[in-house]
């Protein structure tokens, strides 16, 4: 067939002109197909009368109702976060204790082997320590959060989220499916960026791509969770700590959604003008999730994948921090020199130089921001052992003068700053444009700087 067509130029088709416009013909064709489908389905399907109680529809009436849709969503979100936070505490401590026990044995071993100081420092105090931090801080929340998230996904709740948010995105000039790409971004922004392919219109896909970073990915979750349990959870009675920490992380995420909508709206009014296109979103039937499969899939495909990436990047970053902290620049260490240089600007944002430096060093992966920060504090500070959340609180508050405002600004900046290296690389590949990649870098960064400065300024009044 392929070759025939080329020879046939001498045989033009004459296309009959109908009385009506082509698009009404298309409508009529679709209508005929639907009628036929309806007719055949009715003739070959029968449904026992009492089974007319359609449970899916009943559940949908609640989960996607105007009144209950949003409260239920918030409840689910808080619930998942609460389970994650309160469940992750104990295994986190255990892992930290175990890994730092190993840390000490390694140290003993290096000393026994008479290893040179720099080797011990680089590998044990640098590489191993940051990997230990990443594993103990990140593994437990991920191992709880991902299966829970996959359960919701499997049960069919995520399309309902998209359905609920559709009207908001329409108003913002964006595509309703953006909610789904944001859900993916919750796992990993690079994956979220790739998932933007489900949006067909290039304009709306670009909006979704540029704003995906406003959803805190799994690499930033631990930072949010740890900080909120130390600073916000710590202000209330023990029994409420988990819940209030969960609520504050949920609040950060809701803020992320609000910012996403605002920025999408701004983009669709300025750089990416246009009308939102309509789409058909199917609400698939609710299904009982296959628990075993969910656990295996979320542990193998998500948890270990993300953790593996974090470890691979944290190891060299830990080494780098140690090197920076142990080489000198003038009369101080290189680390202190860079941090000091950044400090002025960072203070305006409610942060300090070390925090900003940790975010910058965290460009390869957000997972390592907090470990890098702790590494730099430890390398500079007097505390050498750090194996519990209480010790972390002591380090941050007593030695580096953190207040709740610092914690809030770190959380805000964690929510809104440049996407990680992998995500930027993915955006470049997906958009095939340096301009939009640059835009994806600048947009959240500027929003974050503005937010932090505004909060610091208002509180300082």
């Amino acid at each position: 067939m392929s070759h025939q067509t080329i020879k046939l130029d001498s045989l033009p088709l004459s296309i009959p002109k109908l009385e009506r416009a082509p698009h009404t013909i298309a409508d009529s064709i679709v209508r005929s197909i639907y009628w036929e489908a309806e007719k055949i389905a009715q003739a070959s399907t029968s449904c026992a009368v009492e089974a007319r109680i359609n449970w899916d529809r009943k559940i949908d009436d609640i989960l996607t109702s105007r009144l209950w849709g949003f409260p239920v969503m918030l409840l689910m979100l808080t619930g998942v976060l609460w389970l994650t936070i309160s469940g992750a505490n104990v295994p986190s401590e255990l892992l930290a204790t175990g890994l730092f026990w190993l840390h000490d044995r390694l140290l003993d071993l290096f000393i026994a082997l008479n290893a040179p100081h720099w080797l011990t420092g680089f590998f044990v105090l640098g590489v191993f320590r940051s990997v230990a931090w990443v594993v103990s801080v990140m593994l437990p929340p991920m191992a709880i959060f991902f299966p829970l998230f996959t359960l919701l996904e499997d049960a069919g709740y995520l399309p309902r989220v998209a359905f609920n948010l559709d009207a908001c995105f329409k108003k913002a000039g964006a595509h309703g499916k953006q909610a789904l790409t944001m859900c993916m971004g919750l796992g990993c922004n690079a994956a979220g960026t790739i998932s933007c392919r489900i949006i067909d219109s290039p304009r709306e896909r670009l909006i979704a791509t540029l704003t995906n970073n406003f959803v805190p990915c799994n690499g930033r979750f631990p930072t949010l969770i740890v900080l909120s349990s130390i600073f916000i959870g710590g202000t209330v009675a023990i029994s409420w700590q988990g819940l209030s920490a969960a609520l504050s992380v949920a609040a950060v995420m809701v803020l992320g959604v609000v910012i996403t909508l605002l920025v999408s709206w701004l983009l669709s009014k300025t750089l990416l003008k246009g009308q939102p296109s309509s789409f058909a979103l199917e609400l698939p039937p609710y299904r009982k999730p296959k628990i075993g499969e969910v656990i295996i899939r979320s542990i193998l495909d998500r948890t270990l994948f993300v953790l593996g990436r974090a470890v691979v990047i944290a190891a060299p970053a830990g080494g780098l921090v140690w090197v920076l902290a142990n080489t000198s620049w003038g009369d101080t260490t290189t680390l202190a020199a860079i941090a000091g240089w950044l400090d002025g600007f960072a203070r305006l944002m409610g942060l300090d130089g070390y925090i900003l430096l940790a975010f910058i060093l965290g460009l390869p992966a957000n997972e390592i921001v907090l470990p890098t920060l702790i590494m730099s504090y430890l390398a500079e500070g007097a505390l050498l052992e750090l194996n519990s959340v209480a010790a972390l609180h002591h380090l941050l508050v007593e030695q580096y003068g953190w207040t709740w405002l610092t914690a809030v600004c770190v959380m805000l900046f964690s929510l809104c700053h440049w996407p990680c290296g992998t995500t930027l690389y993915t955006i470049k590949k997906e958009t095939n444009s340096w301009k939009w990649t640059g835009m994806a870098f600048l947009l959240p960064t500027l929003v974050g700087i503005f937010l932090c400065m505004a909060v610091t300024f208002v509180v300082g009044l």
Binding site: L11, I15, A26, E36, E50, A51, D200
Partner: protein
């Protein structure tokens, strides 16, 4: 798509290894069926030039090696999205020996839209009505004989998750391929003016292109003014609107 692309697409090991396409709406258990058919003999990759993931697998039935291609899940073939375009192009250009449309028994009506559209492109269609167990739970009964009579293509009820109906499907595929079963799809009749126009266009298309492509389907796309699709088949110089 130009001629060289088509040659590339048409190049495949033809008769000795029949190609089976799996089409269907999303969430119909299409992938489950794909896994049930092919087991571990599968690999995924990108469609040439496209960014949609596709899976290809193999199984052997009665000594014959079948290739199974899992098309993207779509609700129609109108080609509003890359997924629909990929599914449509595969059925049009690769001409799989059999296209199995997987349907969800609990919402048959919506799934039939796609079945009817695919039947317009190819007559080699088998309808696999999956999730029969779920339908039973919802007290929905499906008269597969009546469905088969009305569609004119073989219908296989299935519970792919449990493996029920998989060997029946393999058997039906084999029978369609060696023409022991010849599907006679009962196509949708459109409104009279459209049917009249089809009657005028069809012979011209057959004269121009032979019977390699469904002339009725292409006529409909021309009438809709969807010239983008048509250009895949015809050089633009061939299309001339009658005044």
């Amino acid at each position: 798509m130009d001629g060289s692309d088509l040659t590339l697409l048409n190049h495949r090991n033809s008769n000795e290894e029949p190609v089976i396409a799996l089409a269907g709406n999303p969430n119909t258990g299409k992938s489950t069926l794909f896994n049930a058919l092919t087991g571990l003999h599968q690999h995924t990759g990108n469609w040439p030039g496209k960014t949609v993931l596709h899976s290809r697998g193999h199984y052997v039935y009665q000594g014959i090696n079948y290739t199974v291609v899992d098309l993207p899940g779509t609700y129609s073939l109108i080609a509003n999205s890359i997924d629909e375009e990929v599914a449509r192009d595969f059925i049009c250009f690769q001409k799989p020996e059999v296209t199995v449309v997987v349907a969800d028994a609990t919402c048959l009506e919506r799934n039939l839209n796609l079945v009817l559209q695919i039947m317009e492109i190819t007559s080699q269609v088998i309808l696999a009505v999956n999730l029969m167990d779920e339908a039973r739970r919802k007290k929905i009964t499906i008269d597969d004989k009546e469905l088969q009579r009305r569609l004119g293509v073989p219908v296989v009820p299935m519970e792919a998750r449990q493996g029920v109906g998989v060997s029946e499907l393999k058997d039906t595929i084999a029978q369609v391929i060696d023409r022991r079963i010849v599907p006679h799809p009962r196509l949708v009749r459109y409104e009279p003016d459209i049917e009249d126009a089809i009657a005028l266009l069809e012979p011209q298309i057959i004269r121009a292109l032979g019977d390699g492509i469904s002339a009725r389907w292409l006529s409909l796309r021309i009438l809709e003014g969807n010239l983008d699709i048509v250009k895949n088949f015809l050089p633009a110089s061939l299309i001339k609107e009658a005044v």
